[in-house]
């Protein structure tokens, strides 16, 4: 075990994967000698050479098109998109190509080796274009897997699982926690399961569900709520697609209440999908409406980002409202 921040854990996962399998390649804008603008790929070019870790030209649709081809050929590409806000030029390659490759070919060809990494989320004074949380855009796309880690240990285990997974995975990294989140991380290879939520804390009054950086917000909100005597069950969804309906439903069947929170705007955010599914699965057990605490239905602001974000006070209030309904 070693103390690592999230960037180090990610770097370590990439290093581990590249050492174990020479078909693993890392590339993207500035990921070469520079090691990426956040330094997630530091030293990988130095260690594995320019053919396996390299800068690409500045063209996201090309990066993912190239990665799709590489994956179809049998390589194991780990492509970086510099900010999740800049993944949209590659939307067609991801949604029409990556996601449908295996299905449309009747399993003759697939791009299962592909992993796409991108830092996402707000709280870093990034404004409209360095703050977005685009997971819901992809969660409407059968064929993709979407994963978001909450801390360094999770980041390494989930990223290694993503790289090994036989399906293409979008791996969104909470950049606000890149350096802020520090923890013990095993130095050897290990994988954490995709598609499985994790119950972080058991409780009986209300279930609080989130993912990524929002788990930290939840932690603090729950601390406040517990001081009020509210017993909270906390779940990290981890995989947005496919998501672990059973774990969430089981929890809500027990608590009767659910608060979901994400940074992305409310309307069309993934909390909507979860709420819709859970109200159906747990209808007779729900004691209050499923609450969503999300970003406002606006682009991401700058100066007033604190007001915009679903922070701990908002989550705390939603917990209280849910219990007092």
């Amino acid at each position: 075990m070693a103390k690592m921040n999230m960037l180090q854990a990610i770097n370590n996962a990439l290093d581990t994967a590249m050492a174990a399998n020479e078909r693993v390649l890392c590339f993207g804008e500035d990921v070469g000698i520079f090691g990426g603008v956040f330094r997630a790929t530091s030293n990988l070019q130095q260690k594995y050479g320019k053919t396996r870790c390299f800068n690409t030209p500045l063209v996201e649709q090309g990066i993912i098109g190239f990665a799709n081809g590489l994956a179809a050929q049998g390589s194991v590409p780990v492509a970086e998109i510099q900010f999740a806000d800049y993944i949209f030029p590659a939307f067609d390659q991801i949604v029409n190509e990556t996601a449908k490759f295996r299905y449309r070919s009747g399993n003759l060809f697939d791009v299962g080796g592909l992993t796409i990494r991108a830092p996402y989320g707000g709280g870093i004074a990034g404004g409209l274009y360095h703050s977005q949380s685009p997971e819901a855009y992809f969660a409407h796309t059968p064929g993709l897997k979407v994963v978001v880690p909450r801390n360094p240990h999770q980041a390494k285990g989930l990223l290694l699982a993503a790289i090994h997974d036989p399906d293409p995975v979008l791996f969104f990294e909470p950049k606000r926690l890149y350096r802020a989140s520090v923890g013990e991380v095993p130095e050897e290879a290990y994988q954490l399961p995709l598609g499985e939520a994790e119950v972080l804390k058991e409780g009986t009054d209300v279930t609080i569900l989130g993912w990524g950086a929002q788990m930290e917000v939840i932690e603090h909100a729950v601390e406040m709520a517990e001081k009020d005597g509210i017993s909270c069950e906390v779940i990290d969804l981890r995989s947005i697609l496919p998501w672990d309906v059973d774990t969430v439903a089981e929890s809500v069947l027990k608590t009767g209440r659910l608060v979901i929170t994400h940074e992305a705007p409310l309307t069309g955010g993934f909390a909507g999908e979860i709420a819709a599914t859970i109200q159906e699965r747990c209808f007779l057990y729900l004691e209050s409406p499923i609450a969503r605490v999300a970003g406002m239905d606006t682009p991401f602001p700058l100066v007033l980002e604190k007001e915009h974000l679903p922070n701990l006070l908002k989550v705390y209030e939603a917990i209280c409202d849910s219990v007092e309904f």
Binding site: R23, T51, F54, T56, P57, V59, Q61, G62, I64, G65, F66, A67, N68, G69, L70, A71, A72, Q73, G74, S75, P77, P89, D92, Q93, N96, E97, K100, R102, Y103, R104, S105, G106, N107, L108, F109, D110, G112, P142, G143, K145, P166, D167, G195, P242, W243, V245, D246
Partner: protein, 404 residues
């Protein structure tokens, strides 16, 4: 830092490259003789006939299947007609294990590689022997064993994929390359720019083969770009380029053969622009009379690439009228008979609705499938294609699978 070592001038001179017109490489005249100074590639009779047979197969398949579409047997069809030399001449210059990533109008390349009429038909009818499991529209072929990537409708997406695929081939070091076909229309997509630039920067063994057939559906090349074709774009990437008469199978073959050497031996990506013409409608849904003249079509019908090849073969004594007749009749028969069989085959298993979305079917999708099955069992009459599916009746499936 800029690496340019360009000359200095002291007056502001603009250039548009018009003086750098790219020539067209031609070998074969329409009558089957060679241009003076032209030297035919050393194909040999066997290969020449393999090429020719693939051309005729493609033409006849296209004719018959368009007719089948008109008769309502098929929902949709797209013809390669007029472009057989461009497609088959290039495919023939590759190694049979090189990867081909095509647009959709390149069934000739598959025919050349030995995709059988039966295999074509199964895809066209989306029956239970279709490798693609009846999921895509007609002409979206794919074959793993023939190294032919399954077609996808979104245009140009395969071009950067070809760059990536070829990068992988380069690392694998087995001497293979990738050739990707696309139309002059698709070359307007952003993916084209990404693909060529990345290939040039990363020195990837890929051949970009543009079929410039003059139209993208109704849009003439003159409304697609202002330049002299697609070829000059290569200069922008410092990529080797050649323009070739696309109706001239020998020129196409030789250009591609040489391009392949540049790609495989020197890791130099190459752009080939084949000047040709889409003699048929864009697809069975299209009617070209709305946007081009019969006269224009007639000019190009005179340049038929198959006849041109045939004349050349005959000039070598490698082909005769009776062989032609025999081939055509055999193919027509085979197409018709195979079509009848393919049409009779049942639809793919109901289960194919949910497989291959992921390697393993996820629980929620499985639950959706269970719900669907129960629904179909309640309303079998409403689902004639699947009411008798083993997943509904519980009776065992009769699996019929080939090697794709």
């Amino acid at each position: 830092m800029t690496t340019t070592k360009s000359k200095t001038v002291h007056s502001p001179i603009f250039t548009d490259g018009a003086e750098f017109r790219i020539s067209t490489f031609k070998l074969l005249k329409q009558d089957g003789s060679l241009y003076k100074g032209g030297k035919a590639p050393d194909l040999g009779k066997e290969k020449a006939l393999r090429i020719y047979r693939a051309m005729v197969t493609t033409r006849i398949l296209d004719e018959r299947m368009l007719a089948a579409q008109r008769q309502g047997r098929l929902s949709f069809y797209m013809q390669c007609t007029g472009e057989e030399a461009a497609v088959i001449g290039s495919a023939a210059a590759l190694g049979d294990s090189d990867m081909i990533m095509a647009q959709y109008r390149e069934q000739g390349a598959l025919a050349y590689r030995g995709f059988t009429i039966d295999e074509f038909m199964n895809q066209l009818f989306g029956n239970n022997k279709d490798y693609g499991k009846g999921r895509q529209m007609p002409v979206h072929y794919g074959s793993k064993k023939l190294h032919y990537m399954t077609i996808s409708s979104p245009l140009a997406t395969q071009i950067p994929q070809a760059t990536g695929y070829a990068y992988g081939q380069k690392l694998a070091g087995e001497g293979h390359c990738t050739l990707t076909y696309f139309g002059e229309g698709a070359a307007s997509e952003g993916d084209f720019h990404a693909a060529l630039n990345m290939a040039a920067v990363h020195r990837v063994p890929v051949i970009f083969f543009c079929r410039n057939n003059g139209y993208a559906i109704s849009t003439p090349a003159s409304e697609q770009f202002a330049a002299d074709g697609i070829a000059p774009r290569a200069y922008g990437y410092k990529m080797d380029v050649i323009r070739v008469d696309g109706n001239d199978v020998l020129a196409v073959y030789q250009a591609t053969e040489k391009a392949r050497r540049l790609a495989v031996e020197e890791n130099r990506p190459v752009l080939i622009e084949a000047m040709t013409y889409r003699l048929a409608a864009h697809s069975s849904s299209d009617d070209p009379s709305g946007y081009r003249s019969k006269d224009e079509e007639a000019i190009w019908r005179e340049k038929d690439p198959i006849l041109r090849t045939q004349h050349w073969l005959k000039s070598h004594g490698w082909w005769s009228d009776s062989e032609e007749k025999e081939l055509q009749e055999r193919l027509r028969r085979e197409v018709l008979e195979t079509m009848k069989q393919a049409q009779k085959r049942p639809a793919p298993a109901l289960e194919t609705l949910i497989t291959d979305v992921y390697k393993e079917v996820p629980p929620a999708l499985n639950a959706q499938f269970e719900k669907l099955k129960a629904h179909i069992r309640r309303h079998p009459d409403a689902y004639p294609k699947s009411a008798n599916d083993p997943a509904i009746t519980g009776k065992p499936a009769s699996t019929q699978k080939g090697e794709a």
